[in-house]
């Protein structure tokens, strides 16, 4: 600083006085000043706006104006940061006070001025400004930080509270300063906050620990906190400062991730049980056949009600139970026969109402709340009935003394970035089915294992397969299931099934007896909508085809190049982003000229022709169509000699997942 030339502007209308000041400045040793003059207030302000001077000296008398006006304007209007030193020709205490109040750095009497006084006044003023600037920056950082910064005294009374703390906790600084800091502590953590304060008051800092704090509205926020002692210059502890960062988002993400991982683990466990069951079913059933067959043979030989006869009945009963058990286990391996249909949960729950009345205890108040305009889902109605019945009976078992049981359905949209949901669901349209009871509830430990095969809390009558099969069925139809339960107050099972596009009632058809043609050819299915693609693939796989699938044109080309065998038919959406169906077909025909191509489109034939996507010699199936129709159509096309022309108009509206 001492080497730098200090730029000084003197606002002074008396040229003589200015000359005297210049001389005084020039006499100062070891310092360089660049001294300029502005004769009028307006000139002085103009200069000030250019921020080129380190310090301003302003005379009290400026012709018609007063130096006070300059001071006022410079500080209040122009927010001048450089020091302004006031000069007068006479010492006036009142004036001095007024100048100080307005923000003058010093007040000098021109008549008593010498170069030492001038030098010292300017040096002090500049030094003061510099440390002030540093402090106010630090203050701004603390005040405006998004982290909550707070101070307390030795007793734990809040003494400082920044903007971040206001936002985080909902208390204004004025609300909370003077109150005790434990106000922020959830009831079960009051002790923790006291303990930390005690540690800090012995001089220790407590580094970033994660905890929960309570907001003004009573809700909780996850925070990472650091607490340090506040000491004065002598090292005496005056209180504690705390910096808290909101980590709820991270905590939520972690919880979501954990839940998601649990779901995956459970699915794997189910799959393993299913595979195991599938693997042993044949042998196990053979064993049961031998046991049962011999028992039957003996039963015929032995006299009815004679010695051993009753025991043989027991053996046969056990054989039947064993067979039933295998059958249930096979659900997990998805080996159960199922009938994919467009299903409306409102219709199913209404149909089941009669049955509920028979099986539900009179002490239980059952209501069925049906969502309006409920969308359809793809499922097997028999299995869905099994799911609902299972959940309802479970709910009843949870309420041995009676209570309320609610079966509720509704449409749900999950957005791309849905926050705040406990349950992990990929974005999309769903139909939600909730079964709620006001029963005994479950502990978190039980909730965690509730869907595991063979886990049961019903010591005497449970097989541990009820909820496990519910889970397996929900999963088989690409659904999701969550349980929310509070010990002592009840449980809700929330099921989500991907919704089919339409809302209007479709005629429920009797279970199809007609034969859907099957095949063993290899098909490549390209469709960018995952839900649609899955349904098609599942349908075609059920008919025996080997199905390769791809989410877009590029992936389809890649799958085709990786697959060594013949691909008999390409089933592709005509309109896909990046590479459309036609482009994909052309690309594949280069290496597989024999491949047959079927386009699926929601657009009319003409539109596709106009866009050059379709030429006349191409098969087109228009959306929406029935799944059976798809399978039938594909069989026909595969059986055709050469590449014929087939144009299919809109089928019945059985299926439309758009």
């Amino acid at each position: 600083m001492s080497d730098k030339t200090i730029r000084v502007l003197v606002i002074e209308d008396n040229l003589e006085d200015f000359q005297i000041l210049r001389i005084l400045f020039s006499k100062v040793k070891n310092r360089q000043y660049e001294v300029q003059n502005a004769a009028r207030l307006s000139d002085g302000l103009n200069e000030l706006r250019r921020h080129e001077h380190d310090v301003y000296l302003v005379d009290y008398k400026l012709g018609a104006d007063s130096g006070m006006d300059f001071l006022r304007q410079a500080i209040e209007v122009e927010k001048c940061q450089a020091p302004i030193i006031f000069l007068t020709g006479f010492g006036d205490y009142e004036l001095d006070i007024e100048a100080m109040r307005l923000g003058a750095a010093d007040f000098l009497n021109k008549n008593k001025l010498d170069s030492d006084i001038l030098e010292r006044s300017i040096r002090y003023a500049l030094e003061r400004k510099r440390s002030e600037a540093g402090r106010s920056q630090l203050e701004a950082i603390l005040l405006q930080s998004a982290d909550a910064v707070m101070g307390t005294d030795l007793e734990g009374t809040v003494t400082a509270w920044n903007h971040g703390a206001e936002v985080m906790f909902g208390y204004e600084a004025a609300d909370i300063i003077g109150k005790t800091v434990t106000i922020l502590s959830p009831d079960d953590r009051k002790e923790q906050i006291t303990k930390i304060r005690e540690m800090v008051l012995t001089g220790q800092a407590v580094g970033s620990y994660e905890t929960v704090r309570k907001k003004k509205d009573g809700s909780f926020v996850d925070v990472s906190a650091s607490v340090s002692p506040i000491k004065d210059l002598q090292g005496k502890i005056l209180g504690a400062s705390a910096i808290l960062r909101d980590i709820s988002e991270r905590k939520q993400a972690e919880a979501g991730q954990k839940k998601h991982e649990e779901q995956i683990r459970l699915a794997q466990k189910m799959d393993a049980v299913g595979r195991l069951a599938g693997g042993v079913a044949h042998d196990f059933n053979n064993l049961l056949s031998v046991i049962g067959g011999n028992a039957e043979f003996l039963t015929e030989i032995l006299k009815k009600e004679g010695p051993g006869w009753e025991e043989l009945q027991e053996v046969q009963k056990a054989v039947r139970q064993g067979a039933e058990l295998t059958k249930q286990l096979l659900v997990f391996g998805k080996k159960q026969v199922s009938q994919a249909q467009s299903v409306n949960l409102n219709e199913i729950s209404a149909d089941m109402n009669k049955m509920f009345k028979r099986v539900i205890d009179a002490a239980i108040d059952l209501s069925i709340l049906q969502g309006k305009d409920l969308k359809h889902i793809q499922a097997d109605p028999g299995q869905i009935q099994q799911v609902i019945l299972n959940l309802v009976l479970n709910a009843q078992d949870a309420m041995p003394k009676g209570g309320t049981l609610i079966v509720e359905t509704k449409n749900v949209e999950i957005g791309e970035f849905e926050d705040g949901r406990d349950d992990y669901l990929p974005p999309g349209s769903y139909v939600e089915l909730d079964v709620t009871d006001t029963g005994m509830g479950m502990t978190p430990e039980v909730q965690q294992r509730i869907f595991e095969p063979f886990f049961t809390t019903k010591a005497d009558k449970g097989t541990g397969l009820g909820l496990a099969s519910v889970y397996a069925i929900v999963k088989a139809w690409s659904g999701f299931i969550f349980v929310h339960s509070t010990l002592g107050s009840g449980t809700t099972f929330c099921l989500f099934f991907p919704a089919l596009g339409q809302v209007e009632k479709v005629e429920t058809k009797p279970i199809q007896q007609t034969l859907i043609p099957r095949g063993t050819e290899t098909l490549l299915v390209a469709e960018d909508q995952e839900s649609l693609r899955k349904v098609w693939v599942r349908t075609l796989e059920k008919q025996g085809y080997l199905v390769l699938q791809a989410g877009d044109g590029a992936e389809a080309v890649q799958k085709a190049s990786e697959y060594g065998g013949t691909i008999d038919l390409l089933l592709t959406d005509a309109m896909m982003p990046k590479m459309n169906g036609k482009e994909l077909a052309d690309a594949l025909k280069k290496t597989r000229p024999q491949i047959k191509v079927v386009f699926i489109s929601g657009y009319p034939h003409e539109v596709l022709s106009e866009q050059g996507i379709l030429d006349a010699h191409i098969h087109l199936i228009q959306k929406p169509f029935e799944l059976d129709l798809l399978a039938g159509q594909i069989r026909k096309i595969l059986d055709e000699k050469g590449i014929g022309l087939r144009f299919l108009t809109k089928g019945s509206s059985q299926f439309d997942a758009d």
Binding site: N286, S289, G292
Partner: protein, 130 residues
């Protein structure tokens, strides 16, 4: 008609189950022919007059699926009962194969039920049953 007028072939790779078929149906009075796998079934059908076939769906070597075309071609009228330890019901599938598919039963099969069904199919006079 009485049981001794008929020959039933049981195709089953599990020998204990074979034994159960053998004992029960011999006792009923039928002639019984046993086969361990598909090839034996074909040979048996060629060499003997068989009136009804009870076959497991899964057998080692040539399985029942491979038999279907042969049944369709050479024995389209032979009544066939299919038994399986899996619960996948291929009823509609079997009906379309062009042979005389009668019934699908899940294992474990009750011998009593099987006896009854066979009596129905072969139109056995109840008075003739031993």
């Amino acid at each position: 008609m009485k049981c001794s007028d008929f020959t039933i072939m049981f195709a089953e790779d599990n020998l204990s189950i074979q034994k159960i078929y053998e004992k029960n149906f011999l006792k009923e009075g039928y002639n019984v022919l046993l086969a361990d796998h598909g090839a034996q079934v074909m040979a048996g059908l060629k060499e003997s007059k068989v009136d009804l076939l009870v076959t497991d769906l899964e057998m080692p070597g040539m399985n029942t699926f491979d038999l279907f075309p042969v049944l369709k071609k050479d024995h389209p009228k032979l009544p066939v009962i299919i038994v399986s330890g899996h619960y996948v019901d291929f009823k509609t599938e079997f009906e379309s194969k062009g042979f005389n598919f009668k019934l699908f039963l899940s294992k474990p099969v009750s011998v009593g039920v099987l006896k009854e069904k066979i009596r129905e199919i072969l139109k056995i006079d109840p008075a003739e049953v031993k």
